[in-house]
Symmetry: C2
Subunit: 241 residues, 2 copies
């Protein structure tokens, strides 16, 4: 058998939100509690999808230089304000209450396979986050969800956002391996497209429930993925970890 390009992998960088952790269920739980408390009928499933969409638009504006860099927690907060405004709910939540709602992004749930898979992978490889969320937020998420990593790297360290190459460069600079020895793991294709363009290996982990049971995110296989799987445990198995 010819040697696989996977044999040279020494380090693994992981997208976090959606890939390592589920944000949909935590937002839904929080939203249902708020609806009860305030006697509101907000569709938090729809709101969570729009929230992520506005977030993505803001990141793209930053990458395009249309607005200065600002941290993801500010972006989420601004997006929440817009969403409440759109729904005619601007008076329903005070500024402090909105700040509280916004902290949901620091308390997300590990997918059921994440801890076991990461624990196995960490024994064989150097493992790090490579997230668009802020350092403080990712440290909180990882601590809250009990995810074991060797290092926390986030786009904040590059003052940019994925898919900017400056973010993938963090993994090379701080993990100490050339791009072709680093595997990028994500459930979003745009992330892996950019990682591959940067010279990294790519693993797609399908997370069909990322936006809830009603949504149908694109989880189809692409022929250029180095690995295609649906859990961190099977990813570990594929890498002999």
């Amino acid at each position: 058998m010819p040697p696989s390009p996977l044999d040279t992998i020494r380090a693994i960088a992981f997208d976090v939100q959606g890939t390592c952790v589920d944000f949909y269920q935590p937002i839904l739980r929080m939203g249902e509690a708020l609806n009860r408390e305030k006697e509101l009928g907000i569709d938090w499933a729809a709101l969570s999808a729009e929230w992520r969409e506005l977030y993505r638009q803001a990141l793209d504006q930053v990458i395009a230089g249309k607005r200065p860099w600002l941290r993801v927690d500010r972006i989420y907060r601004e997006a929440l304000d817009s969403l409440l405004e759109r729904r005619g709910l601007a008076d329903a939540f005070s500024s402090t209450e909105r700040d509280d709602i916004n902290t949901i992004w620091t308390r997300l749930d590990a997918w059921p396979d994440s801890v076991e898979g990461l624990t196995r992978l960490r024994k064989k490889f150097v493992t790090a986050t490579l997230s668009n969320a802020g350092m403080t937020a990712v440290i909180s998420v990882v601590k809250h969800a009990g995810l074991p990593f060797d290092a926390i790297l986030t786009a904040e360290l590059a003052q940019s956002y994925k898919p900017s190459p400056n973010v993938y460069r963090l993994a090379v600079d701080y993990l100490g391996y050339p791009p072709e020895e680093i595997l990028m793991v994500a459930c979003h294709k745009y992330d892996l497209v950019a990682a591959r363009a940067f010279g990294m290996r790519t693993a797609f982990v399908a997370r069909p429930l990322e936006f809830g049971p009603a949504a149908e995110p694109d989880t189809s296989c692409e022929d250029w993925f180095d690995i295609y799987t649906n859990s961190f445990v099977s990813l570990a198995r594929a890498l002999g970890a």
Copy 2:
């Protein structure tokens, strides 16, 4: 009892080399093996002390702006060249062999109390390294020694070195707490002097064997330390962790 300033601590930043890990014994073991292999009589105990001294001088030149920022692994490598030159041993080690010797700084031993103490402290506080070594080196050390941290922060992220305030600011920016809610832990007084000037709380952990049994580093108590102890386990106890 009046409330203690320690009651507000939410996060802890740790110096690594000397404080979390022992570099003396690993260098000595490596040196003895090299002496046998090459039939040399190098005094590695003395060399290790001089190595750290030249390293400190180079860091100070960087902080003073007398030379541009360069990573600690380069500083250690240059210092090793100087030391071998001084001892008339320039021909004894090839460039590749010197590179190999230099990697000792990525394979240091945890002090006997480090893992237990850090494990306990991490349950109650956000914990991070705050080291002058490079990101890659600290990630390697922490992985090699099995030290549990929530985040890896090093002076490389600020392109400066302790005691520059820019390095302590990393803990505030990336751990997300104001200085007075962060405890700096170190076995070197200059580090705590600077952390305190920045507004952080300070814990001195005496490591009398940092430079080997013959050396006598200054491990005396100062009245301005918030905590003075000789192990991470007793530090955890002092903080109720």
